[in-house]
Amino acid sequence: MALKDSIKTILQEAELYHGQGLLAEAKEKYQQAQALIERSAQVKNREKLLEGIHRKIAGIELHDQKVQQTAATSPALSEKARELIKRLFSFSKEESEEAAALEGAIALAKFGQFSSALTEFNKLIRKESHRTVAAKNILRCHIALASEKAAVEQYEEWVKSDLFSVKQLESIRVFLEDNIPPEALEKPLSAPAAPAASAEEETARVEEEFIDISSIGIPFESGPAQGKVIEFDVNFQSGNLLSLIVPQKEGNIIEDLAVGTKINDLQFYSPIAIFNGAGVVSEKSQIKSGPKQGDFCLDIEITST
């Protein structure tokens, strides 16, 4: 193929990729065309062509810089968009309004809308059932907003208030210590009370690790699944408490798991790691109404990891 035709084809491809938004591919083709033209003195309008290609490449590089800047900060969303996120990403509406509200707030945080998420978590902190989880997420939002000082101040305010129990505050303190850069702490965080027995301390340390656990593998030592590890999806997580929904047809598998049963060698599956631990069955009941009627609700409290 004549040189002129080659350059034309390459530039056409570059333009198409550019039009498609495939900028890396477009840049590669422009550079390919540029190299071809630079190697040959006979190309007509050589300088003009090179100038045009150079402008295209510069435009792409500028766009890449802008994209990187956008990726580093979360774009602001409209109120309508934030409400939609809260609605679409809360999955526990049928079970509990508060659980749904928590999921919505977490979704806002995950989409980088930390200020809005803070507003939601501050509403949830009034509810006993989600107080600790909401508190940890408030601190997490402050840290994400590069406001470690606000996180520390918030914690100290809670220590002075009577909103949290000693155990809850200790759990929050450990969480904050583990998530804040050491240089952000001008002095040690106030301890609500001296740590009690080591078992409680272990529980607090497990509680503060806010890792999304998506599923749990339970080893069965008796029953129809004896000797096997069965994986169950985590329907809802609150700190170290995992709620599972077990379909009615699988009820016989969990027959021997009574409240208080301790389970070792649990396998926890999270987005960042798979890890082992131990837990205890804290609640077990059969759902009496609603779309999951007949299914079993099983709560497992993680005691160590």
Binding site: T9, Q12, E13, L16, Y17, Q20, G21, L22, E25, V67, T70, A71, P75, L77, A81, L84, I85, L88, F89, F91, K93, E94, A107, K110, F111, S214, S215, E231, F232, D233, Y269, S270, P271, G290, P291, Q293
Partner: protein, 204 residues
Amino acid sequence: MAIFNLKKREIECKIVYYGPGRGGKTTNLEYIFKTFRKQITGEMVSINTEGDRTLFFDFLPMGLGKIKGCEVRVQLYTVPGQVQYSSTRKLVLRGVDGLVFVADSLKVRREKNMLSLKDLQKNLKEYGLNIFNVPLVLQYNKRDLGDQGIPIMPVEQMERDLNRQLKVPSFAGSAVNGDRVGETLKECLKLTLKSLHKELKWAQ
């Protein structure tokens, strides 16, 4: 996961359009929004775009009317395709009932297709789902570009790359022209509702 209201006999399910960046996921939804107006029950929302690039997700609600005595509603989502939005993709994928994987037929995007499919498989696994068990349809998009002399992969090659093990329905089309967009969605809906019917055992 599908929301099934036994009392009201309503089912709401979630279909996610997945695939590499700039592959045509949003274009699919835009075409559906323009063309299937009778079934659209709300506005198409794009959160958030930078120019024409999805940063968070697109959302389009549809109503399919009564099927086997149940009012069926579908929510269509797209995910951002760029590599750096991995955590957003995972979040949008939560609770998915059916998938359309939009692959880019351009030769230069071959590797991106395969990486995106692997990413999908990994994210599904983290939700305890197996890609082989989730209702899934493949769309080989941008076939029209072949007519403009731009190198595209033969469908056979795309089948080998993406569908050799999955063996799911696939459609070669062009979202910008609307070619096979409707068919792709219909097949995905068919598979999804079949799966939900099996799981929920709903019937008149």
